[in-house]
């Protein structure tokens, strides 16, 4: 099998992370992740460019039986028909390697082009905007380069070690390794990572709630590195379809992140329309053709938009502090309604200080009449904004009567009420704190469906998934475990139906078990691979030792005997370290197996808990409830989960009889200790 020789997921990942480590801290504060991802992509394009031509030529030879001379092959190799992308003269990885002293310049020329040469981006429509970084920037002193040639040399050397074409790497593995790198960069960047990365568990939940189907269009208005869209494709593939049976659309304001998303798409072999560089709210790029007089509509929208954006109504290029202040003074009301009135579809416009409802309304306006959406929101959208109220101010008039103030209904309240009255809110899931990078605010999932089953029309499902013990607590961040994901999915799909819940639990247990088994095998394989060399060495030494022992048995006296003895001793000594390492490996393997066994057990336990929960309505109401619209109305359209779901830990019951006995004992003990203290004090001479 060719696969045996191919790079494994783990090999590829650790090797790529090695490249990242060469550059880390060497970009003078510039975002080094874009450099690495961009270089990886460039190398992949070049390697694949060479390989695909060979592959096609071999195919031709096999099909036609024509024998090709090397010279003929060389000519044919240049034929554009054999390549997905064009690599202009002088823009190949090999040309960069040859530019020993000016690698930065060569990289820039190859990727982005210069006066003489188009570069990859110039020669391929699909690659426009993909290469955003310059490798050849001068340092602030104007004398040297920002990234020294020595570092670039080391990087190019490192990347040169491995062939990244399909000959050596399976495309899906490369795609996954790319996502792995993005996640590593996110871990590394901490708080700032929220801009380009949503934790995969959350993405998985959204995709599995929305269940994309072949032929549908899916849109992420703030797509970051494209993870949500890519995962929608993964889901389709898991369901036995092809990932490209979805139509993908995205927009990303940050050019660099946009580039990462584009590469993500190409590496996953997905075709999508990703637009970059503009704010989705002020300059939506996906408009209904041909008139372009409203937002384009999609079957599915998924989003994790920036929370509580205080400059949402400003276009990207005006988002400087100065401009924000200036615009605030002018109160640019025009922008608040949206280009197509999308931000005032329920009458009120979102407050200038907070873009959450602008994003949600953009999403609603981007859904077709049967569309569905899953949105990560700050929990504030559930309750911010009050209805019209009359309140005492706490002040009093001279005649002693309280001062009463009439407060108009808040805009956010009006929008939320409007949305609820349209019956588009299908479910709300309150998530644990701190599961997002950098977002300390409590978050929730808002599931919107424009067409809902008639029975559900006047209902909203509320899920409280933030209960302690329903997430893993890590030092910097919390994380949803497979069983936590399962819990949320069972609640959302069951929608309060106990019969359905039973089947769902079985399905998810099966699915997660399979996924865990796969992950376990991969991890075990990685450990075995890591120690392969050592094991080889230990086996060889052990064989030598056996031979030496046999030789020693054969001779019994004289110089030969002592020599044989020495050899045995020497080999025994040499074997100590590798054997210890092998023992260490076995320990690691055992630990890994144990961990996965525990994870599987946890899944089963959670499954059993869920089944029990759906048999006990009182308990279930502490986790999930299907709430009638009338109740939401009674709560003044405040959707805060604790109003509907019994989220509070009940007070521990105290048995009065027991408490009385305890008190009596405590009373006696107190009396006794007071008496003995008094006796001791009495003995003191003052």
């Amino acid at each position: 099998m060719i696969h045996q020789k191919m790079l494994s997921q783990q090999e590829l990942e650790s090797w790529l992370w090695g490249a990242a480590n060469i550059l880390r801290g060497k970009t003078a504060g510039q975002d080094y992740k874009t450099y690495i991802l961009s270089l990886l992509f460039f190398k992949r394009l070049c390697d694949q460019h060479d390989f695909e031509a060979e592959e096609k030529l071999d195919h031709m030879v096999r099909e036609t039986g024509v024998v090709l001379e090397e010279a003929q092959r060389e000519v044919l190799r240049r034929s554009p028909n054999l390549h997905r992308f064009v690599i202009p003269e002088g823009c190949h990885w090999k040309d960069v390697v040859l530019a020993a002293d000016a690698i930065g310049q060569a990289l820039d020329r190859a990727t982005r082009g210069d006066g003489k040469c188009l570069g990859l981006a110039g020669a391929n429509e699909e690659l426009r905007g993909v290469f955003t970084v310059s490798w050849n920037q001068p340092a602030p002193d104007g004398q040297s380069q920002l990234i020294p040639n020595t570092v670039l040399h080391a990087l190019v050397q490192h990347f040169g070690q491995k062939d990244l074409s399909n000959r050596n790497v399976q495309p899906d593995i490369l795609g996954r390794a790319y996502e792995y790198l993005i996640k590593k960069f996110a871990d590394d960047a901490g708080a700032k990572a929220g801009e380009f990365f949503t934790p995969p568990e959350v993405v998985d939940i959204l995709v599995r709630i929305l269940e994309p189907r072949p032929g549908e269009s899916v849109y992420d208005p703030t797509c970051g590195s494209g993870g949500m869209l890519v995962h929608a494709g993964d889901y389709l593939a898991e369901q036995g379809h092809r990932a490209n049976q979805l139509r993908y659309f995205g927009q990303e304001m940050n050019w660099q992140t946009y580039a990462i998303a584009k590469i993500n798409f190409i590496l996953h072999d997905l075709e999508g329309s990703i637009k970059g560089g503009k704010s989705t709210l002020t300059d939506p790029q996906h408009l209904a053709e041909p008139a372009r007089d409203r937002l384009a509509n999609f079957d599915l929208v998924m989003a994790n938009f920036p929370f509580s954006d205080a400059a949402w109504w400003l276009p990207e290029e005006k988002r400087t502090e100065e401009e924000i202040a200036k615009a605030k003074k002018k109160k640019e009301k025009a922008a608040m309604g949206g280009r197509f009135g999308e931000f005032k579809q329920f009458g009120a416009t979102p407050p200038a200080s907070c873009g959450d409802w602008a994003f949600i309304q953009h999403i609603l306006a981007s859904l077709d009449e049967r569309g569905r959406a899953g949105v990560v929101c700050p929990q504030g959208v559930l309750f911010r904004g009050q209805p019209e109220v009359e309140e005492e101010t706490g002040e009093f008039k001279p005649d002693g009567s309280p001062v009463i103030r009439r407060r108009k209904a808040d805009d956010e309240y009006l929008i939320r009420r409007g949305l609820l009255e349209r019956r588009w809110v299908d479910a709300i899931v309150a998530l644990p704190l701190n599961i997002f990078y950098g977002a300390g605010v409590p978050a929730c999932l808002l599931i919107l469906r424009k067409e809902r089953p008639p029975a559900r029309r006047d209902q909203v499902l509320m899920v409280y998934a933030a209960r302690e013990g329903q997430y893993r607590e890590l030092s910097a961040q919390n994380q949803l475990r497979p069983q936590d994901v399962m819990r949320i999915l069972v609640h959302t799909h069951a929608y309060g139906d106990a019969d359905r819940a039973g089947q769902l639990v079985d399905q998810h247990i099966k699915r997660i078990h399979a996924a865990l088994t796969r992950a376990e095998q991969e991890e075990l394989a990685r450990i075995v691979a890591e120690y392969a060399e050592i094991e080889k060495k230990a086996d060889a030494l052990a064989l030598d030792l056996l031979r030496a022992q046999a030789a020693r048995a054969a001779v019994t006296k004289g110089a030969d005997a002592s020599k044989a003895e020495k050899l045995v001793a020497k080999l025994e000594k040499q074997l100590i370290s590798p054997r210890a390492q092998i023992a260490e490996r076995d320990e690691q393997l055992a630990e890994t197996r144990k961990r996965y066994a525990e994870e599987r057990a946890a899944i089963d336990t959670t499954g059993a808990e869920l089944s029990a929960l759906y048999a006990d309505p009182v308990e279930l109401a502490k986790h999930a409830r299907v709430v009638d619209f009338a109740e939401i109305e009674e709560n003044e359209f405040n959707l805060n989960i604790p109003r509907y779901v019994d989220t509070f830990e009940p007070e521990a019951p105290v048995d009065v009889g027991e408490a009385m006995k305890e008190l009596n004992t405590a009373d006696k003990a107190a009396e006794k200790s007071i008496a003995s203290l008094a006796a001791l004090l009495g003995k003191l001479t003052v």
Partner: protein, 412 residues
Amino acid sequence: MSSRGKLWGCQIFREEGLPPGWEYVPVGELLDLEYGAALSEEKRVPGPIPVYGSSGVVGSHNEAFVSGPGIVVGRKGTIGAVTYVPTDFWPIDTTYWVQPKRDGNKRYLEALLDYLKLGRLNAATGVPGLSRRDALALSVFLAPPNEQAAIARILDATDTAIKRAHGAAEKANRVRFGLLQRMLGSGLNGHGSQATKVGPVPKNWDVSTVGQEFEVSTGFTLGEHRKPKVNRRRYLRVANVQRGFIKLDDVSELEARDYEMEERTLAVDDLLVVEGHADPKQIGRCAIVLPEAAGLTFQNHLFRLRPKRVLPKFGEIWLNGLQCQLYWQRTCATSSGLNTINQRKLKALPIAVPSPDEQQQVVELATAAETTCRAVKIRLAALERLKRGLMQDLLTGRVRVKAAESLIAATA
């Protein structure tokens, strides 16, 4: 379409459990919450009228705003806190005060409001401060008037006992504090005192140093190589060592070989001293190792003191004494960050050592005082628990008054 009612998720009383003959009513039908009135400190004229904020009395004034008895509910600050006021009073504008709409027992009403845990509504509203529209939407089980009075009487009696127990606990603490100060300052037999670096100590006691009286050593420095793997050892850190006792409910692990443990294992009667703390009052706090902590190891932010001659318990009493506390505060307080002592400073710390007999006496007295403090505290906790239990039973009607009274009578 059916609704389970406003704020269903926050309801403590749910209609299903309503006792026969009782009423299920929204708080809004029983009472109104009125805004307190602003009364800044400058405007107050000290007088007989207590001024109430969210958490209780905050001052006095010569004029009442509400005639008593009444109930104050925290609106901002201590949100949802419920206080019964027996007299006329002035509730300030961070509070609501209760205006009953029906005749009824105010102590009972206070207990009901308290039982509702209004503070939880803060999480449900999403607006800081107690929303009275929400508070009034909660429902309660309402007992018939005579039962209200009976319940109020029982809870009142419990409150009185709690108040008394509070007083006793405070007094016990004062006795202990005074006793220790006297013993460590001028001794047991009135020989007068002598001056040292840490202040006056009894004249007839020998002044020595920690370095002379104890073997001092430090624990393991944590780091990557100490992450627990094969040789896992339970170790104590600063949080485990409290003043006068070791807390073992949360003990972490580190990696250490056998030979490394030889020097750093805790034995019964060792003392542990805290090296640094953000709060200068906490540095140098000390606890003796009891059998349950023996065999554990410790981290480098703790010192282990192994007594050479002095009674270990006397050492603990001395190191936790007021002289040492003040000494560390004087010498180690920094304006920012962590306050630390080092081994050199610790070894140089004076310790006044009396004769073995007198040490024994000091230990006995201090222990007796400590035991008393603990005993009265336990009694207070038991009373508070009892009150919680009574509220659970009586306010929900799960146990009716007659039955409760006979239960108390039987066990008293």
